[in-house]
């Protein structure tokens, strides 16, 4: 039997003593695309960083491909999972192509300079993300959305069976949000596993096969999207009534009722 790509057992996450996730038992298999949904500060990024091996769990275990994440050698782990951080600060004037070539680092134990295969992988990734024309640009001069697409291209060039993405749709325009969502769905059909954090329920519904809801108080729901992305569960999770509206063959999620602003301080008007 093939071990699941990710399996957590009794995984508990805390930040500064605050309980975020309690006793999470979660399995992600190859070919599945998971979206992680929850309010701000519910531990979505913390969960992703824990699974990526960037921080230790606060309780329980995380295993990747059947092996505890802490037991992996770092280079081997880098060939197993790729991780897209939520934000990037570029201090130096690297060219776009250089940043993507660097993602080939885990395969370079035996070489000092990148080979033609690395260039082929990097250029293919740039083309897939529609940023090939930016290859020679200084990364610091890119717009937020362009930089995000270059970062996702680097993730593709890393060529791992498991992709962990923290808000991949950040700063992307609508067309590229849809394109990236479709790209992730395609990668899953090719047998990879994808876990992405996102705030757009409609993108999650169209792209993901499974969903993990984190309520922020330790409780969670995991399962296939049609079982978990139900209005009552989503409403409880996000703290706002959510309506699921059938539109032809599609389902559209909308915040229900006009936005209640009574609990906010009144906007002061000029007298």
């Amino acid at each position: 039997m093939i071990p699941p790509m990710i399996s957590t057992q009794d995984l508990t996450l805390r930040v500064d003593g605050r309980l975020l996730v309690e006793r999470l038992d979660w399995r992600v298999n190859a070919g599945e695309s998971w979206c992680v949904i929850g309010p701000n500060g519910a531990g979505k990024s913390t969960l992703l960083r824990t699974v990526a091996g960037l921080r230790p769990p606060d309780g329980g275990t995380v295993a990747l491909a059947g092996k505890p994440v802490g037991d992996w050698a770092l280079p081997a782990l880098a060939r197993e999972r790729a991780y897209l951080a939520q934000s990037r600060g570029d201090a130096f004037a690297y060219r776009v192509i250089e940043t993507v070539l660097m993602a080939r680092h885990p395969y370079h134990a035996d070489r000092y300079w990148e080979g033609s295969d690395d260039h082929a992988a990097a250029e293919a990734a740039l083309r897939t993300l529609d940023v090939a024309h930016l290859a020679e640009r200084d990364v610091r001069t890119l717009s937020g959305g362009e930089r995000q697409r270059v970062a996702i291209a680097a993730l593709l060039a890393q060529d791992t069976p498991l992709l962990l993405l923290d808000e991949p749709a950040n700063a992307l325009d609508l067309a590229h949000q849809v394109a990236v969502t479709e790209l992730m769905a395609r990668l899953c059909r090719e047998g990879r596993a994808v876990v992405s954090v996102g705030h757009d329920l409609n993108l999650a519904w169209s792209g993901a096969t499974h969903a993990l809801l984190l309520n922020g108080d330790g409780s969670w729901h995991a399962g296939a999207t049609q079982d978990v992305m139900r209005p009552e569960l989503l409403s409880a999770c996000l703290g706002h009534p959510i309506a699921a509206i059938a539109h032809g063959a599609r389902t559209v999620f909308l915040p229900d009722a006009p936005v209640a602003i009574t609990h906010l301080a009144p906007v002061r008007t000029t007298q």
Binding site: G53, R81, D90, A91, R95, H105, G115, H119
Partner: protein, 345 residues
């Protein structure tokens, strides 16, 4: 569209070759120039007798003295520039250098304390070494949690914290230096002040700085690709299989040792560690596989030229080389910064 795979390797070789030739020219100029010039025609014969270890003619003696000083200048400049590149990669900020981070101020405290108590010369060197490595270690301990990296990281690393910690430690060290200068007896004050002013007048052939420099360059070149990933990704470099914590320990230790070596040879020579990496990054790009050897060669050549100017411009009067590097460095730095600003807009 992009460079061919083999091109970057060729590019590195060409750049290193050209810069090596420049460095040799700078050393030759340093040997020939002075209040009593050595004729170019005498150079081959004089060089041969210097290399054989027994300078017999006038030209050979002059060459021996000047090349000794120039070799010390080269090792010092190269060490400072290399330390600058390492520290900038470490804190992911092009404004870092041994002076900004307080490592050379730590060396000054150690050396001046030894001078204050009238210790032997080797004790002064040891004091400088202890001060530089001590400040590196203190920086490391203070900033370790905030630097993040490794698997125990609690949160994303923030390089600004390290930079600020260094600035604060530097000012604390400068306060100690001022304190020692104010309580020092008259007889020792002169030597202490001279130590503070970056000067290569007393420098001669020494093996140790070269050995440290060679080891540091070789070790750093082996890690150049990892440095690239760290400079780009901060603690997310772990996700690409890099042991960030181990690399950071190496960078701290190595840049501390390099700074200590430079400071014991030449005292406080400012701006080399900041301006040279900046200029090299501007000219050759930020890839550390090219940047590390380029900055080492340019830093060495720069200080050789600056030191030659320092002893010839107002000859027989000698200027402290640290004054000259700052006078050259500041306008170059400002010009570059301005150019960069214009281009980015």
């Amino acid at each position: 569209m992009s460079v061919l795979p083999a091109a970057s390797r060729t590019r590195q070789r060409v750049i290193v070759l050209v810069l090596t030739v420049c460095a040799l020219l700078a050393l030759a100029a340093a040997g020939l120039a002075g209040s009593v010039p050595v004729p170019v025609a005498d150079l081959p014969q004089a060089l041969a007798s210097v290399l054989s270890g027994a300078p017999d003619t006038m030209s050979a003696t002059l060459l021996d003295l000047r090349l000794g000083r120039a070799s010390a200048a080269f090792a010092t400049g190269a060490a400072l520039a290399l330390a600058g590149v390492m520290m900038q990669a470490l804190v992911r900020n092009p404004l870092a250098d041994p002076y900004v981070l307080g490592v050379s101020a730590g060396a000054a405290v150690g050396a001046l304390a030894a001078l204050l108590f009238g210790a032997a010369l080797w004790m002064v060197d040891l004091g400088a070494l202890t001060g530089a490595v001590g400040i590196s270690l203190l920086l490391y301990l203070l900033a370790r949690r905030d630097l993040g990296g490794g698997r125990g990281a609690v949160r994303t690393g923030e390089s600004g914290v390290l930079l600020l910690t260094g600035v604060v430690l530097a000012s604390a060290c400068m306060a100690l230096v001022t304190l020692m200068l104010s309580v020092a007896p008259e007889s020792r004050l002169r030597g202490m002040v001279f130590w503070m002013i970056g000067d290569l007048a007393g420098a001669s052939w020494r093996l140790l700085p070269w050995a440290v420099l060679a080891a540091a360059v070789l070790l750093a070149l082996r890690r150049a690709r990892a440095l690239n990933v760290m400079a780009l990704h901060a603690d997310a470099a772990v996700a690409l299989g890099i042991d960030v914590a181990a690399q950071r320990r190496f960078l701290f230790l190595c840049s501390g040792l390099l700074t200590a070596c430079a400071v014991t040879t030449g005292g406080s020579i400012g701006f080399v560690g900041l301006v040279v990496p900046h200029a090299c990054r501007y000219a050759f790009g930020p890839d550390h596989r090219i940047l590390l050897p380029a900055a080492t060669l340019v830093g060495g050549s720069f200080l050789v030229v600056a030191d030659t100017l320092a002893r010839t411009v107002l000859a027989p009067q000698q200027l402290p080389v640290g004054v000259l590097t700052s006078l050259i460095g500041v306008p170059v730095f400002l010009f570059q910064l301005h150019q960069l600003h214009l281009r980015r807009r």
